[in-house]
Amino acid sequence: MAEYRLMKGNEVIAEAAIRFGCDGYFGYPITPQSEIMETLMLRKPWEETGMVVLQAESEVAAINMVYGGAACGKKVLTSSSSPGISLKQEGITYIAGAELPCVIVNVVRGGPGLGTIQPAQSDYFQAVKGGGHGDYRLIVLAPASVQEMNDFVGLGFDLAFKYRNPVMILSDGVIGQMMEKVQLGDFKPRWTDAEIIKMHGSWATTGKTPDRKHNIITSLELDSYRQEKFNHKLTAKYKTISENEVRFEEISCEDAEYLFIAYGSSSRICQKAIELARAKGIKVGLLRPITLFPYPTKKIQSMLSKLKGILAVEMSAGQMVEDVRLAVEGKVPVEHFGRFGGVIPTPNEVVQALEEQIIKRK
C-alpha cells in the first residue's frame, strides 16, 4: 500500500534516506536545510535500521566522514547549504578522485559570502562546473518538488554506485522548506558486506582477506603519465554518463514557438508563467532539466528548428544560461531572466521578461 504524507522537502530527504537503506548521515547545521539532520535525530534510525547519524564539528569533517564511510562501500549521505557546501569542496574532489559513491544535498541559499538564508540557484557553476580542484564532474540532480526530493535520494544512490561517482542533489530553499504531498518509498534493508561485494565488486575497504590484494582508496598518483591515464578514465566515465543519464521534462512544448528553460523551483514558476502567457496567445513551453550534469544539450538542439527564442529563467545572475548558449550555438536568440539574492521571481515578471527580452526583441 502506497504511503502518502504531507512533508517538507528537507524532512523527506531524511525519511527517504532511512527507507532507502542508507548507512550513514554526517552533517553540520545550516539554514535552510537543518531539518534534514533534525528529522533524522528525531526518528532515531539507529534503533530501526542501524543507520549512523552524526553531527560533525564542521562541514569539512562531515564530508570527510562521508569519504571514510563511502570507502567502506557504505551508502552515505551529507547535506548542507551554500556556505557549507563551499567548505565541503576539498572533500568532494577527493571523493571524485578516489571514485567513491555518495549523495550530497545542497539546499541552496543566496550568496556570495554569508549572503542570505533565502532561496537561490546561484550555486549552479559550483555544482556543475567544478567547485573543487581538478578535472572531475558530479552527477547533479535538480528536484522541483517534494516528491522529487524523496525520489532523488534513491536515484542518487543508484547512480552513485553505478558509476562510483559523487551525486549532488541541487535543491534550493523553496523546495527544502515547502510542504507537499509525497508518496514515500518502501523500506529497503541496508546492504551487508557480502551484498556490497556481490553487487559492486570488492573495491571497498572491508578488511583485507587472503583471497585478494589489499584495497587502497586514494586519489594520489605521483607518476604524471599514470595520472593522465586516470584522467582519461574519468573523462570516459563522464562521457558514458552524458550519453546515458540525461533526464528532463517537457511541458507544453508540442506547439511552442518560445521556450523557457528552468530547473528546480524556477521551473515551477515557469509553469504558471506558461498559463499566463498562453492566455495572451503566446505559444510558450518549458524544458526542465532534471539532470544538470549531464545537461540536456542534445534535447535543446533537437528543439531549435521550431523555436523563435529561449528564455533561461533561474534564481541567479546568469549561470545555467551559459549551458543553454553552448547548446544553441547562436542559432536562436537566448536571454536570461533572473531574480536573485533570495528574491523569487513572480510568474508575471517571467512573462514580461519573455515579451520584452525575446518577443519584442529587434
Binding site: 571514510g68 557504505k74 572491508t206
Partner: protein, 254 residues
C-alpha cells in the same frame, strides 16, 4: 657456498620481516622514524592476528604512501582529515579496528579541529602521531611543533615565537579530553625505546579491540632531511632538544 647454506636454517633465524609488511621499497629517507613505526604497527597487527580486521587511514605528509608498505586495507585522507575519515570507519564498521596515522603538520596544524573532536567524542580508534617538528614532505617548513629557535625553510633564522607562537604540545591537550583512555609519548631511536614504543602500540590496539575509545600515541621523531643533519646527529639533536620539551612517558592510562 656450502657453509652459507648450512647457516640458512629455520633454527638459526633471529629476525624475520613481518608478513604484514609488503615487499615494496620504503620511500623514507635513511633513519626516518616513519619506517620504524610502520614496522612496529605491522608486527602488532601480525601478533594480534588482525590483518583482516584492520583498516588504516593515512595522511598527507611523507607517510601518505604508508598504504604501499602495510598489507592491509587503507584509505588515504585529505591533509589533516584522517580522524574524520576514521570516525566514519569506526562508526560504520564497528567490527573492524581502525587507526589513523598522522604527521605533526597534518594533526597539529591543518587538522587540529578534526583530531580534537574525534578524541573528544572518544572515537574507537588508534591514533599514531609522528612528531618530527617539521613539514618533512614539502621540504622542511616550520610546523606548529617546531621548537623555539629551530631553523626551517620558513623560519630560516630560527623559529621566532613572538611572530609565530609557541611550539604546540597537542598531546597534553588531547590527554585532557574524556574520550581518550590512553595517551602516551614515545620515541623509537634506540632498541629500548623501540621496544617500549611497540608495547604502547600494542596496548592501543588492544584498547580499541576492547572498544575503550581513543588511544593516542605520539612518537617524537627525527627528520634528517628536514633538519639537515645526518641520521645519527638527528637522534642526538632529538635527545638534546626535543625530549626536554616533548617529555616521554604516559600522559594518561585508564
Amino acid at each position: 657456498m656450502a657453509e652459507i647454506n648450512e647457516i640458512i636454517k629455520p633454527e638459526n633465524l633471529v629476525y624475520a620481516k613481518s608478513k604484514v609488511l609488503t615487499d615494496n621499497v620504503m620511500s623514507y629517507c635513511p633513519g626516518c622514524t616513519h619506517g620504524v613505526v610502520h614496522k612496529l604497527i605491522a608486527e602488532v597487527i601480525e601478533e594480534m592476528d588482525i590483518q583482516e580486521k584492520t583498516i588504516g587511514v593515512c595522511p598527507v605528509g611523507c607517510s601518505v604512501l604508508a598504504y604501499n608498505f602495510l598489507d592491509i586495507d587503507w584509505q588515504q585522507a585529505a591533509h589533516g582529515r584522517a580522524p574524520a575519515v576514521a570516525t566514519a570507519v569506526a562508526r560504520l564498521k564497528p567490527e573492524k579496528i581502525v587507526f589513523a596515522y598522522q604527521g605533526d603538520g597534518d594533526l597539529a596544524s591543518i587538522g587540529t579541529a578534526e583530531i580534537i573532536h574525534a578524541c573528544n567524542r572518544g572515537e574507537n580508534m588508534v591514533v599514531i602521531f609522528i612528531n618530527n617538528g617539521i613539514y618533512g614532505m614539502t621540504g622542511g617548513q616550520m610546523a606548529p611543533t617546531t621548537l623555539e629557535g629551530m631553523p626551517t625553510s620558513t623560519s630560516p633564522y630560527g623559529r621566532d615565537i613572538k611572530m609565530t607562537g609557541h611550539p604546540l604540545r597537542i598531546t597534553e591537550l588531547i590527554a585532557q579530553l574524556p574520550g581518550t583512555n590512553f595517551v602516551t609519548r614515545q620515541a623509537a631511536h634506540t632498541p629500548a625505546s623501540v621496544r617500549k614504543c611497540k608495547k604502547a602500540i600494542r596496548k592501543a590496539f588492544d584498547n580499541v579491540a576492547a572498544k575503550k575509545g581513543t588511544s593516542f600515541i605520539e612518537v617524537v621523531s627525527t627528520c634528517s632531511s628536514g633538519w639537515k643533519l645526518s641520521p645519527v646527529k638527528s637522534n642526538e639533536w632529538m635527545v638534546e632538544h626535543m625530549f626536554p620539551f616533548y617529555k616521554l612517558g604516559d600522559l594518561k592510562d585508564e
